[in-house]
Amino acid sequence: MKALIIDDERMARQELRRLLTAHADVEIAGEASNGEEALELIQRLAPDVLFLDIQMPGMSGFDLLDRLREVPDVIFTTAYDQHALQAFEVSALDYLLKPVAPARLAAALQKVRPQRPLMTPSNGLMQSMEQIFLRDGERCWIVKTREIDLLESEGNYTRVFFRKESPLIAGSLAAFEARLPAAIFFRANRRQILNLNGVEGTQLAPAGNLVVMLRGGREVELSRRQSTVLREVLSI
């Protein structure tokens, strides 16, 4: 498991590095002392997990994640930041408090250890392991793209439906469309993008266009043009 340590303090990075020597399966691919460095290293090294300090000069840990198209697993670290702690708590994210207790580190690593990516053929599409970072004021999520059922445009914001959540996230629907794998995410109409893996059935609307039933019981009506496209994709 390739790890990247991101912290503005050298001693803090070193301490974490020392603590990680107890975990033979963790290979420390690199260290970054600020957000800009981290962006470059993430691009170059494609780490599996980030140890990410929240309070950093210039670009905070959250700001850094906002700028990533897709995110690896993240274990946040913080000495004491009430706002961040609150965000971690309400968002059920993994975090470590500095100074780091070795047992807590082991528990956090256990959660991010890779389960082998599944190659199960569902609709002939590979199960993607990609995940994205979403932030809505106080709360934030690291969401596997395959967990997203539907995205709905609300002006400059997009409502993202996944699991039982539906936060409103800054960013246009077009911007999300560019971020998400085009093989799975399908533009249903001007306002909605749906996850093809979540399609449970289709119906014909009176006007001749398709209505798609998604897992969780949501229905999405396709535009006439996109109905034709979907018929080709699903070969019905």
Partner: protein, 347 residues
Amino acid sequence: MSRIYWICQIAGWGAYAAALFGISTAYSGWHIELAAAYALFAVYSIGLTHLLRRAIRRRDWLALPALQGLPRVFLAALAVALIQTSLIVTVALLFAGPQSGFTEVRQVAATASGVTVATCGWAAAYVAIVWNRRYRETRLREMELQLTLGQAELRALRAQVNPHFLFNSLNTIRGMITENPARAQEMVTSLAGLFRHALEFRGAQMVPLKDEMEAVSQYLALETARLEERLRIETEISDEAARRSVPAMVLQTLVENAVRHGIAELPQGGLLTIRAALTGVGMTSEALLLEVENTGRLKPVSPNGTHTGLANARERMRLLCGENASLVLSETGSGVVAARAVIPKVT
């Protein structure tokens, strides 16, 4: 406040004039001239005592010690009573001639004494009201100060026990234990010294700058271990300045702000400069100038209280060193934030 004053004036003098008029009618029957004379009396009494009030306020007699202020107030009241008496006599003689009885000295003296009692009574009531109000205001201010000091103490302590600083320092020490055990030991000592200084802080307290600098150095030693080459420090403190007393924790607050909100937020770090010198050498009151500068930009006041520490330091300086003490935070053109504190010599 002013409305109540006018109501009291009109009601008071009106009632007094009406009472006198009542007594007079009992002796000499009802005359329109008599009514007019007493109405006139009420009007100029209101006017004259209003002028008296203005004189007391202008000259601030009630701010003087009682033995100096009260004679002035009551002498002025006597002068007003004299004017009132002469007006009464003049008006009575003009309207009623000798029939008014004011050709007799006895009658004039009786009127004079009555008016004197009334106007001195007015002055006494005025003094009582003003003093009572001042007393209440002073008490309130004292209570406020007490509260401010208590809060200052608490805030300074909390700033010192700033959890972010504490846990980061502990984390640095944990790492340092393997990398450099001797340094780790020094850091523990610094942390202990810093906490002791904060715990001994009791709000309004002057300490020698030398002692304050000791705590600041311990704080900086810990932050240097954490921020390393990002924190560069220069100090210029003259010997005379080091011997001067300063309000406790003011310099500490300034330095901590400069590091926490300035240098620690810059990826490349910056320079912290601490200067202390006496100004206006040769003059009777040499003020101490404390300057803390850091690389960075002045941020707008953030809601999570960036400037409360500063406001608190300012308040303590005002309490301990008087109104001439000042504390200004400004951004100089070249990307440097400077906090300048002027601490006048307290005698």
